[in-house]
Amino acid sequence: MSDILVVGIPQSLKYFDFSRAWESMFSAAGVEWVYSGPTTKTVLDMGVESCVSEACLPIKLIHGQVASLIGRVECVFLPRLVNIRGRTVFCPKFLGLPDMVRASLGNRVRLLSPRIDLRSGTAATCLNVFRFARSLGSGTLKAVSACGKFVSAVSFDAANSTSSCVAALDEAKRTGPVIGVLGYPYLVEDDYVNMGLLNKLRSLGARVVKLGKVGERELTRFDREFEKQVFWYYSDRVVKTGFYLCRNKLVDGLIHLTAFGCGPDAIADKLLELEAKTDKIPYLTISVDECTGEAGIQTRVEAFVDMLTRKPVRPRVGDAKEVRYA
């Protein structure tokens, strides 16, 4: 093995939330890394070739990104994320992702997939990261610093959104409708996958509210709402954020961006739909897959925004008598 190991990081799924944690970990461990680069048609096509047909778009995409790294790096970093917050876990496809990728591309590239499960305690996670850093060839000191950096980055990222959405929205001088775009970061933040949905909305004069705009404290209050917490980390946040926005009439309309065939979203989507109906918030589900055409999305988004513009204006935020919780 050469002195300087270069690790490839696929730029999808967990990248949007955890890139900072990965970067600080690798730089502390003294390991170089490269990103696979943003999504392109070629990358997606590579993924479709190497992945099971039933999988959802993001899973196909990450297969493609791993494939695109083959030849450029010696090994690819694809951690097995199990839990980072509370009792929620990640979608089963995340849990089994390293195994799926190993089964289809394993003979062509080495995968590094440490298991990250904060339920087993910070100490156990530190130990995991420490072993992982050691296995990459960094010295003990560097490895210790790597786990410190990693754990603090992950727990900070999970807790950093405390700014109140209400205030943020209130000061905005409304010109167009306010639309909540809810969906997992790997769909909402990836402009190729969602065909520039956010820019389309903005160019139609709408203001966009995304995941992370509602504070952690507001979200946890919705725990009582459900007889059972939604199991999956991202879905849990999406559902609670949606409930918060609807209950408090903070948005004129809600768009749920989902991947075709997404398992957790079948549940999350219905929960949001029922809630939006109760609160009389117009609701649109946009599902994307590798065959989605841009024109179709454009038409649906335009129609949705038009409808919201013509609809009588919702009561302003300030008019809401009280903030309702469960």
């Binding site: 097995r80 876990v89 089963p92 849990l95 089994g96 799926m100 199991f231 599902s287």
Partner: protein, 362 residues
Amino acid sequence: MRKVTFPHMGVSVHPLTVLLQELGNEVIVPAEPTAGTLNLGTKYAPEFACLPLKITLGTYLEGLKRGADTIVTSGGVGPCRAGYYSSLQKRILESLGYSFDMIVFEPPRSHFRQTVTNIKQLNAARLSIASLGYLVYRVWLELLALDRLEAKLHQVRAREIETGEAEKRYREGVAAIQSATSPRAIKEAGKEALRFLEATPQMDRPEIVKVGIVGEIYVLLEPAANLYIERILGELHAEVRRSMSVTGWTMDNAVVEGGGFDVKKAAALYLPEMVGGHGQDSVGHTILYAKEGVDGVIQLAPFTCIPEIVAKGILPKVSEDYGIPVLSIFLDEQTGQAGLRTRLEAFVDMLRTKKLRKRAVA
């Protein structure tokens, strides 16, 4: 008196009916799911929900229309979606204007108090703990007998001379087991039914292949959900081994919780992580079947089933390493029996050719 209904799942319907009736409830016995049930469920369920959610939602709707006021079902703790069915279905049914109680049985060891409360709610006859134990024992025996008889049917059907004879005898046996009331009578009826089924006129066909079925529990155990795949395979002279049964599952999940260690061990090299549902089991059972000399494996799963998609991604590698053919079939409300039959015929033909060729070489 409560009017109770529950999901229809294979052979478990009659034993559960007995259980709930003896506890002092009126039971709205769920009808075997039909295309109508599925349509009803599909109408109100999320589009990308898996088949079991749609079928059970349809079953509940039928039950509620017939006057049920209580739904008894199982829960789960994720990460498979099935664990969230009860909560979501409750919301959906309530949004349609039904009012009812939903009694959800979570894994008893981690939710002990809830389980006790549930039993109290259903125990309208105020049975003592001893009589409860006796009742459960009796129902368990019936389940065991029915499970065994069904497994035997899958063997015999491949060899029967007259098509349909084995199934006819099976139905008679089921009726006899179901009409027995004391534990001894159930055991006797079970043995007698097995003997009667084995006595079906059979011939030893050289072309018989063994097919293992792995996959998601509901589509495995409910014949209406898998379009009676076992019957089709039997008619194609394939002996079916199924990786799961009602009693086996109950032992692994409700009694031991996290049982099935040998299967998980077998899968560890390919899928060390518990991905929920039966993803790990599908991989593990495929490996075990390969070691036992089963000719081919069929993976059955509902469309969009998350754990089975993970398993499907891994099974080609297992198939390659162990030299066992694997056919993955994803079922949804669009799946037609003719299409399924064609795929099964082709698969069984391939297995047969492979087997006969191997025998000719040896």
